[in-house]
């Protein structure tokens, strides 16, 4: 009788423990479930918040020329993809899908994070307005400018034209390169202005860094390779031909992480130029027909149509293979078209653009 009672007590105690463990596990599972669900919801919320902030900002930047905006966004990692024909931005830690950027030109690093974005827009004209280039960076990326002695004028110009709010170091002469010290930023981009090959300062051997070499008519992309910088294969491109206050193509190169990002965006820009030039070419043909054969404007337009056709072809060539040859050809035809438009203005004809 006593033994039976003791056994029943043992079973009761064991059951109690099993019961506590099962109930505890269920309660724990419910709370873990809630936490996971909440995590997914908050990630989706952040995704929506970032996209909802970014979309109108980028659209606004796409239409307002030469503006600088400092924008606060929810702290999230944003990835910019531009490769071949595909271009988009995405928020890797959320369930938001890719947001297409196939018709926008945005020069930036591939991955950016932080609560503040710096967005600078510059108009791109050749010589007519084609689109705005958007330069996107964050305060986590530092830009250091180093110049050769005979390039101080170009260095001053490039440096002064950058918005003051961009995280940039002092203009440093090449001889003082080693004085540039790492400040622990996520990325450091060195802009070497002059003919000398970029060199990695000793303090940055273990830091993420990339470089761009600028001369009066070219930019060349460099990546970190071991303890120094190495030129990217086929990473040199022409710049220096522009019809606005600032060379948008040059600044595009400064803000692009690498050759691939720059080239991919420039191809998109040339594609757009082909479309805009085609409309202007067809319009010029239509306008010409409204003038009488003997009129001055009729004769002038005959020349203008050829300029536009040539410009359209050069842009198409640059879209396929962006090099010095196509760019020089394009710039020369664009300069001719600018003169031609002024001639139309003087002769009181309808302007081409």
């Amino acid at each position: 009788m006593r033994r039976n009672k003791a056994r029943r007590g043992q079973v009761s105690v064991q059951f109690h423990w099993i019961f506590i463990i099962i109930a505890g596990a269920i309660i724990l599972a419910v709370f873990v479930g809630i936490v996971f669900k909440q995590k997914a919801v908050s990630e989706q919320k952040i995704g929506i918040a970032v996209v909802s902030e970014l979309e109108p900002i980028l659209a606004g930047a796409g239409v307002a020329e030469d503006t600088f905006n400092r924008v606060d966004v929810p702290d999230a990692e944003i990835q910019f993809i531009c490769s071949g024909d595909y271009s988009a931005y995405t928020l890797p830690r959320t369930e938001m899908g890719d947001v297409s950027l196939s018709s926008d030109v945005i020069f930036s690093f591939g991955e950016i994070s932080g609560k503040t974005l710096h967005i600078w827009t510059l108009g791109w004209q050749m010589p007519f307005k084609i689109m705005n280039f958007i330069m996107l960076t964050t305060p986590n990326t530092r830009y250091e400018f180093v110049y050769d002695a005979n390039y101080d004028w170009l260095a001053d110009q490039v440096y002064e034209d950058l918005p003051a709010d961009i995280n940039k170091g002092q203009l440093t002469p090449r001889s003082s390169l080693e004085n540039i010290k790492s400040l622990g930023y996520e990325n450091t981009r060195f802009i070497f202005i002059g003919d000398s090959a970029p060199k990695l300062p000793g303090d940055f051997i273990r830091e993420p860094a990339s470089a761009l070499k600028i001369t009066t008519d070219s930019v060349e992309f460099y990546v970190k390779f071991g303890r120094d910088f190495a030129a990217e294969l086929d990473g040199e491109f022409p710049v220096g031909g522009y019809f606005t206050d600032k060379d948008a193509m040059l600044y595009g190169a400064i803000f692009s992480e690498n050759k691939e990002m720059y080239l991919c965006n420039m191809k998109k820009a040339f594609e757009r130029m082909v479309y805009v030039a085609d409309i202007l070419w067809l319009r010029a043909k239509e306008v010409r027909e409204t003038y009488g054969a003997g009129e001055v404007c009729y004769g002038l337009y005959g020349v203008g149509i050829d300029y536009l056709a040539g410009l359209k072809n050069s842009a198409a060539v640059c879209q396929r293979n962006f090099d010095y040859s196509c760019f020089n050809d394009m710039y020369s035809k664009a300069s001719d078209l600018l003169d031609f438009n002024n001639r139309l203005l003087r002769n009181n004809c309808i302007l081409v653009y």
Binding site: Q44, P56, A59
Partner: protein, 166 residues
């Protein structure tokens, strides 16, 4: 004693069941609330997208007037017509601009002549809503023929960008 402990156990189980039922209700209420908040945010995003679409369209260089005119205020009807034709004839071009215009309908209404010129229409499959953004613009025709003479004809119009969404 045995009976007492049985009653106690039943009591504990009942308390736990009530606890779980209350928690389930609370959780259902909260997730419903979250869903609604998320839906509102998505609606706001859609409204912003409609404005973004309109902004992008209004300022397109493809059909703006001469650069002497401020951007976004004047549409060159000759360019507009050429652009419309190109979009209809060239699939590649249509695919490119569908990224700019998205799922929308774009047209201009000439207020003086009371005419409509359609540019683009790409309705979203199973769309349920249409958000419309209208922008007043100057419409310029540089090849307008008046009494056999070419004149530049200006008119007032409204650029409609209707955004299809669910």
């Amino acid at each position: 004693m045995n009976r007492k402990s049985q009653i106690k156990m039943t009591e504990t189980i009942s308390i736990l069941v009530i606890f779980f039922v209350l928690m389930l209700f609370g959780f259902m209420f909260y997730s419903n609330f979250q869903k609604r908040a998320l839906l509102t945010e998505q609606q706001e995003l859609i409204a912003k997208r409609a404005v973004v679409n309109s902004l992008k369209t209004t300022f397109l260089n493809e059909f703006r007037c001469e650069q002497t005119e401020p951007s976004g205020t004047c549409i060159d009807l000759v360019k507009f017509g050429i652009f419309k034709n190109n979009l209809e004839l060239d699939d590649e071009l249509e695919a490119y601009y569908s990224n700019v215009f998205s799922t929308s309908r774009i047209y201009i209404v000439d207020i003086i002549k009371n005419t409509t010129i359609n540019l683009y229409d790409n309705p979203r499959i199973n769309y349920t809503k249409l958000t419309s953004v209208q922008t007043p613009v100057l419409l310029r025709n540089v090849t307008y023929m008046l009494n056999n003479e070419r004149v530049t004809w200006d008119s007032f119009g409204v650029l409609h960008v209707d955004y299809y969404h669910k």
